[in-house]
C-alpha cells in the first residue's frame, strides 16, 4: 500500500498488529518484534493494556486509534510513541479529522498517519486537520495524487494549517 509523506511516496517501515493477532499471543508477538527491531503499530487498547512493557522504545512504537476507542489517555502516551495512526473506517466517518486536530494541537510532534478509507478528495482536509502521512489503497493512488494538496490555496480557518 502506498504511503504518502510530504507529497512523496515513502517506504513503510512499520508493521501494524491487529487486535486478533494481539489477543492470540501478546507476549510472543512483543518479544518477536523486539528481537527483530521492528517498528510496530499497536491498537491503542492493546498498547494501554501492555503499556508497562511497550513504553520503552518510542522510536519503534506507534498506536492505531479509531473513533470508537476511548481516547482519554491518548495525550499521556505522546512521549511513548512516535506514530499515531487514525482510522477512517468508511468514507462517511469524519471523526478522524477531529482526532487528528486534537492530537496535533495537544502537542504531538510525531507522524500522524491516516489509514483506512483514505482517498484523493479528502487528502487536503486531512492535511489541514493535522495529518502528515497517508496510507492509501493501491487503486486510490496515482502519480497525480500529490496534486490534491494544491487544488485549494486559500481558506478561512486560521486555526488550521494551510
Amino acid at each position: 500500500m502506498p504511503l504518502l509523506i510530504n507529497g512523496k511516496t515513502s517506504v513503510d517501515s512499520w508493521v501494524t498488529l491487529n487486535a486478533e493477532q494481539f489477543a492470540a499471543d501478546a507476549s510472543a508477538l512483543i518479544s518477536e518484534s523486539r528481537a527483530k527491531g521492528s517498528a510496530v503499530i499497536y491498537p491503542i487498547a492493546d498498547y494501554l493494556a501492555n503499556r508497562d512493557v511497550l513504553n520503552s522504545d518510542p522510536k519503534n512504537t506507534g498506536v492505531l486509534v479509531t473513533g470508537d476507542d476511548d481516547l482519554s489517555q491518548l495525550t499521556e502516551i505522546f512521549a511513548e510513541v512516535s506514530l499515531i495512526a487514525i482510522d477512517f473506517p468508511v468514507l462517511r466517518d469524519g471523526r478522524g479529522f477531529s482526532i487528528a486536530r486534537n492530537v496535533t494541537r495537544r502537542g504531538f510532534k510525531g507522524e500522524v498517519r491516516a489509514v483506512g478509507d483514505v482517498s484523493y478528495d479528502r487528502l487536503d482536509s486531512m492535511h489541514r486537520s493535522g495529518f502528515n502521512a497517508y496510507q492509501m489503497a493501491d487503486d486510490k493512488f496515482s502519480a497525480d495524487t500529490h496534486k490534491a494538496f494544491t487544488e485549494m490555496t486559500v481558506n478561512y480557518q486560521p486555526t488550521h494549517l494551510r
Partner: protein, 553 residues
C-alpha cells in the same frame, strides 16, 4: 452587502475547478459512485426522480440584482426557465445536466455565488431574519455575524463529514423570523445587563422524524467568541454524534442523550481549553470590518415628507390590500419593507420564472438599492422601498403575478416540492397546495382569519416544516395512495412549539375539506380578534379533533 476580496474569489474559483475535476473523474469512471455522491452533495447536486437538482447558496438570504439576473440567466441557459426558493433561503434548479453543472458553477462564481455546502453532512447555509438591518425592533443587524459564520464554516477541513447535516439560524432580537429554535444551532441576539450585545446560544433543535425545540446552552456569548464557540460545539458533535443510524445522527439526538448539562460542560471544556483564545477569537477591528459591509444605504432625507398614500389607495383597492398585507414598517420614516409573494394562485409555492427574476432585479435596482432578500417561508423581499414609490412597485409586481396580497395568510404556505421533484418524498404536495388555493381564494375571508401559517411536507423528513405551523400537513403513502395527516398548534416563532397530530391521515380528496373544518372550529370559538394560535392555546385540540373526525357534517 458583503463584497468578495481576492481570496474569497479565488476560493470559489478554485472550488469550481476542483468540482469540475471531480465530475470529469466520475464521468471517466475513475471516481466511484459512492465517493462522487458525497462530493457532489457537498456541492449542492442531488440526483432526483427525474433529473439532477442543483441547489445554489444564497448566504443568509441576501442577493444583489446582478446575482438574481445571473440566476435568471442560468435558468434560461441550463434549465427550464424557472427556479425554486427553499426554506434555507437557497435557490434550486430542477433540471440541470450533471455534466453542465461545473459550467453553471463557473457562471455563478463570476457573480460571487456558489453551491458550496448546500447539501451533504456538513454545515449548511446560515439563515437569518429577512428584515435584517431595516426592522424597527432589532437589536443589531445580524448579517455581519452571518458572514463571519459563512466564512468560518466554508470548507472547514474538520467538519465536512459530520454525522449528519448541520444548520445554523440567527435572529436579530426577540422576534424570530428564522425558525431558530428548530435549528441545530439557534443564535439569538440579546443585550446583557451591561448593555453589551451578544448571542444566546440554543442547540439541538430540529424537525424531521424527531421534531425537537432547541435548548439554551449558553445564556450570553460575547460576539468576539462567536467562531470559537461554534467551533467547540461542532468538534464535540463531530466526535460524539451517532454514526450508526442516520435517523439518530443529528445533534438533537446527542443533546437528548447527554442532557443539556453534560453537552454544555463538554462544549465549555473544549471552548475554554482550546478554542476560546485561539486565532478564532475576533478582534473589535475584525467585527468592525464585517459590519462595514452592511452599513445602511443612502436613504433619501425627504422620503418622510411623502407618506400619504390616500391618492394611491383611491386608485386601487387591490393596491391598498397589498400595502396592508405585504408591506411592513421600516425603521426609517418614509420607507416600507415590501414582501414579494411567491405564493400565487395555483402555481408551486416558492417557484419563480426567469422573467420574474429579471423583473424583480430591475425593481430592486430602481427602487431598493439593488438588493433582494429571500425568506425562510419562500418569499422575496425588497427591503427599502420609499412609500411614495410603493404604487409603481406594486403595479409592476402585479403585472407579473407577484403581488398576491396573502403574506402570513393561509395561502402563504411553506411547501416542499413533493413526490414529483424529490426522490425522498412519499406523497404529492403541489396538487394539494392547488386544492387549498382553489378553495380559499377569497381574500376577505383570508384577512378575517388573520395570520395563519399552513405548512406541508411530502414526507417525514419535514422539509416543508409541517411540525411548526398552525396547520401542518404531512403526506404519507398507503399502498400507493396518498394520505395526509394534520398537526395543529405548531410554531417556529419566539413561542416555538411542535404541533400535535389530530388523528388518522385522510385521503387526498379530503384535504381542503379538512382545512375548512379546522377553520370552522377556529371561527366558531374565536373571541374578538384572537389569532388561530391563541384559540388553540385556549381551547386545546379536542374541539378540532371532534369536528374533523365526526361521523358526518
Amino acid at each position: 452587502m458583503y463584497q468578495y476580496n481576492n481570496d474569497d474569489q479565488q476560493l470559489v474559483d478554485e472550488r469550481v475547478e476542483q468540482y469540475r475535476d471531480q465530475t470529469n473523474r466520475f464521468l471517466a469512471g475513475t471516481l466511484g459512485e459512492d465517493e462522487f455522491l458525497a462530493l457532489r452533495l457537498m456541492n449542492g447536486l442531488y440526483v432526483q426522480r427525474q433529473a439532477p437538482m442543483l441547489r445554489v447558496a444564497i448566504p443568509y438570504g441576501l442577493m444583489s440584482s446582478v446575482q438574481l439576473r445571473k440566476l435568471a440567466d442560468v435558468s434560461r441557459k441550463y434549465d427550464r426557465n424557472y427556479a425554486h426558493f427553499t426554506t434555507r433561503t437557497n435557490l434550486q434548479f430542477n433540471w440541470p445536466k450533471l455534466e453542465e453543472v461545473p459550467d453553471i458553477l463557473a457562471e455563478l462564481a463570476a457573480v460571487q455565488m456558489h453551491a458550496i455546502q448546500t447539501s451533504g453532512n456538513c454545515i449548511r447555509n446560515t439563515t437569518t431574519d429577512p428584515y435584517s438591518g431595516v426592522y424597527k425592533g432589532e437589536i443589531e443587524d445580524p448579517r455581519p455575524y452571518c458572514e463571519i459564520i459563512r466564512q468560518w464554516s466554508t470548507m472547514h477541513p474538520e467538519f465536512a463529514y459530520l454525522p449528519r447535516k448541520f444548520k445554523i439560524a440567527v435572529t436579530a432580537g426577540p422576534e424570530d423570523r428564522a425558525a431558530s429554535q428548530v435549528h441545530d444551532i439557534g443564535l439569538h441576539m440579546v443585550k446583557n445587563d451591561a448593555g453589551e450585545v451578544g448571542f444566546e446560544v440554543m442547540v439541538g433543535g430540529g424537525l424531521g422524524r424527531t421534531p425537537i425545540i432547541g435548548q439554551v446552552i449558553k445564556d450570553f456569548l460575547p460576539m468576539e467568541h462567536l467562531r470559537s464557540y461554534l467551533d467547540a460545539i461542532l468538534r464535540v458533535y463531530n466526535l460524539n454524534g451517532r454514526r450508526d443510524n442516520k435517523y439518530k445522527a443529528r445533534i438533537k439526538i446527542l443533546v437528548k442523550a447527554f442532557g443539556i448539562k453534560k453537552m454544555a460542560a463538554l462544549v465549555e471544556e473544549e471552548w475554554l481549553g482550546f478554542t476560546k483564545d485561539s486565532d478564532l477569537l475576533l478582534s473589535k477591528a475584525d467585527i468592525e470590518k464585517f459590519k462595514s459591509y452592511f452599513t445602511p444605504p443612502a436613504y433619501a432625507a425627504d422620503a418622510a415628507n411623502n407618506i400619504d398614500l390616500t391618492t394611491d389607495f383611491a386608485k386601487s383597492a387591490t393596491f391598498k390590500a397589498w400595502y396592508e398585507r405585504n408591506t411592513v414598517e421600516h425603521k426609517v420614516d418614509g420607507y416600507r419593507i415590501a414582501v414579494i409573494s411567491l405564493k400565487p394562485l395555483l402555481l408551486p409555492p416558492g417557484d419563480v420564472t426567469d422573467s420574474q427574476m429579471d423583473l424583480i432585479a430591475d425593481l430592486a435596482d430602481k427602487y431598493s438599492f439593488g438588493e433582494i432578500r429571500s425568506t425562510h417561508d419562500q418569499n422575496l423581499v425588497l427591503a427599502d422601498v420609499k412609500m411614495s414609490e410603493l404604487y409603481p412597485v406594486w403595479e409592476a409586481l402585479n403585472g407579473a403575478n407577484l403581488a398576491r396580497a396573502n403574506i402570513d395568510t393561509l395561502t402563504d404556505m411553506i411547501c416542499c416540492p413533493g413526490y414529483e421533484f424529490c426522490a425522498l418524498a412519499n406523497a404529492e404536495t403541489l396538487p394539494i397546495a392547488d386544492q387549498i388555493n382553489a378553495r380559499f381564494d377569497n381574500l376577505d375571508y383570508l384577512y378575517d382569519l388573520g395570520d395563519i401559517q399552513l405548512n406541508m411536507s411530502g414526507c417525514i423528513n419535514a422539509c416543508g416544516h409541517h411540525h411548526v405551523a398552525d396547520i401542518g400537513i404531512l403526506g404519507v403513502d398507503r399502498k400507493g395512495e396518498n394520505y395526509y395527516q394534520f398537526t395543529l398548534g405548531g410554531s417556529s416563532k419566539t413561542d416555538a412549539s411542535i404541533g400535535k397530530t389530530i388523528g388518522k391521515a385522510l385521503p387526498a380528496t379530503e384535504v381542503a375539506n379538512t382545512v375548512e373544518k379546522i377553520l370552522h372550529v377556529f371561527v366558531e370559538n374565536r373571541v374578538a380578534e384572537e389569532s388561530f394560535r391563541e384559540v388553540i392555546k385556549r381551547i386545546g385540540l379536542n374541539p378540532f379533533k371532534e369536528y374533523v373526525y365526526a361521523a358526518s357534517h
